[in-house]
């Protein structure tokens, strides 16, 4: 009788650890114009689902996505809660009904850093080991 709850607990812990590991492998970066130094997971989700266009400090933000790859997949899983194809469908449904623009996509961490560095309000993500010179790194609360 005791085995089942234990198994369930271990499974939940394993899932939580996996999500944390994914989240820990990612750095959230922003253009220097963004005043905030941290962002909540809720805010991140809102920004990348186009329901939020500013952070708690009032800074205007624009999401930037990587085109594909493990960092992109991990970010979506940890913070957005949609698969890549589901997110693409979601954005297209907004774009083709006139409710939002398609976010900018970049091909690599280096491209992401370069784009975020030069674009006012840009907010994106890169792998933890990426060189993030020229952009600010936001703590995710």
């Amino acid at each position: 009788m005791l085995k089942k709850p234990n198994s369930l607990l271990f499974a939940l812990l394993a899932i939580c650890s996996a999500v944390s590991a994914f989240a820990g492998d990612i750095k959230v970066i922003a253009n220097a114009s963004v005043g905030a130094s941290s962002v909540s997971a809720d805010e991140l989700k809102g920004v990348f689902l186009a329901t939020k266009t500013s952070l708690s400090d009032g800074s205007h933000v624009e999401p930037v996505l990587e085109k594909d790859g493990p960092t992109h997949e991990a970010f979506l899983k940890a913070f957005v809660g949609k698969t890549d194809s589901a997110l693409a469908t979601y954005y297209r449904s907004l774009v083709f009904t006139g409710k939002a623009s398609m976010p900018k996509t970049t091909a690599s961490d280096a491209d992401m850093v370069a784009y975020v560095a030069k674009t006012k309000g840009a907010i994106g993500y890169v792998s933890a080991g990426a060189d993030t010179s020229g952009v600010k790194t936001l703590d995710v609360k």
Partner: protein, 405 residues
Amino acid sequence: MHFRARTVFWTAVLWTAPVALHAQFDFTVDGRDVQVHGFASQGFMYSGNNNYLSADTTNGYFGPTDAGLNVSTKLTDNFRVGAQMYLFNVGQLGKWQPELDWAVADYKFKDWFGIRAGKVKTVFGLYTDTQDMTFLQTFALLPQSIYAIDKRDESIAHTGGDLYGSVRLKQLGSLSYTAFAGNASDSANSGYIYSLKAAGIDMTKYSGLIAGGDLRWNTPINGLVAGAAYMRQYPRGSGMCSDSPACRFLNANGEGVYWEKYRKDYTQQFYGQYTRGKFQLDSEYRRQWRDHTVFSGGAEASLDGRSWYTAATYRINSRLEVGSYYSHLFEYTTLNQVYYPNAHIIDKVLAVRVDLARYWNVKVEGHFMNGYGHTTYPWGFYTASNPNGLLDQTPLLVVRTAFFF
């Protein structure tokens, strides 16, 4: 261009376009990014027993066909403008007439308050505003009990405006709202106007105010959305009645000016969506109540439609998605307080979607329909395209390919 030649031309264009148009045509004007996006789809339908959607589907029919193209840009961080043209054709509906699908100026003051004005796609339930964009969906045809192709003009867009926003509720998730008001009109090639032609009525104008709202709760349960929507409509129609039995409501000759107008017309909808990983479950219930004065004041007609569906989809891998839905329409109709026989359409559907590329998909779908609704109201089955009468069962195969950029 001859109608058949035009069909062949568009079909050829739409089948070859994916290769030519997969690139994204974004450019910069005066330092501002301008985005251009488009889509096109081509279907093939083959049915047993009855012709569907006013097309000769029992002999195999290449349709529906549709296409859209939009341009948009941000003028400031909070101000965006854009427009989309759209055309479609299936049987006697749409008839390739390009129309302004939406043209919007959108200013977002805060995340919790924005204004959209112009010709605006109506947010009402899960798919009213995206029902034309079936390339986004698993299914080639959305559940027709709620998203009937031939009734799309009723509420798909309004010329007016929206107030919208999203409010965080801390541990309780978030609420998104849209309040809308404006004028909606049926095009000359819509299902309702086509169905009236069989009764000898040439309706040249059908439009009126619509107003309502949609409230959706992104619940704290990850992936679960619940919502409700309500809309009032005030349509008026006018045209001419020619000699026909139906037009004898007007006078003995059955000829003259025809008009109809609302007495009471509202729609309420409740919906839920649950997404977990690659699995999605949708369900919606709609009640539509229409009480209208018709035949130039000669009759009172009411329609009480109850429709619902449940749809499930699962993405097996990056290329393959499968889905199924059960769609149920039940309708009570009266003319001068005399009940017509109850009408229903029950549709059981199995679908497979194959993503050939990020910008191109193909769907194969089987429908097993029971019932044909009221032929005096557009639910896909028309007496004009089924002159020998309608049978209860309609099996239907739909193949549809779409590309988008």
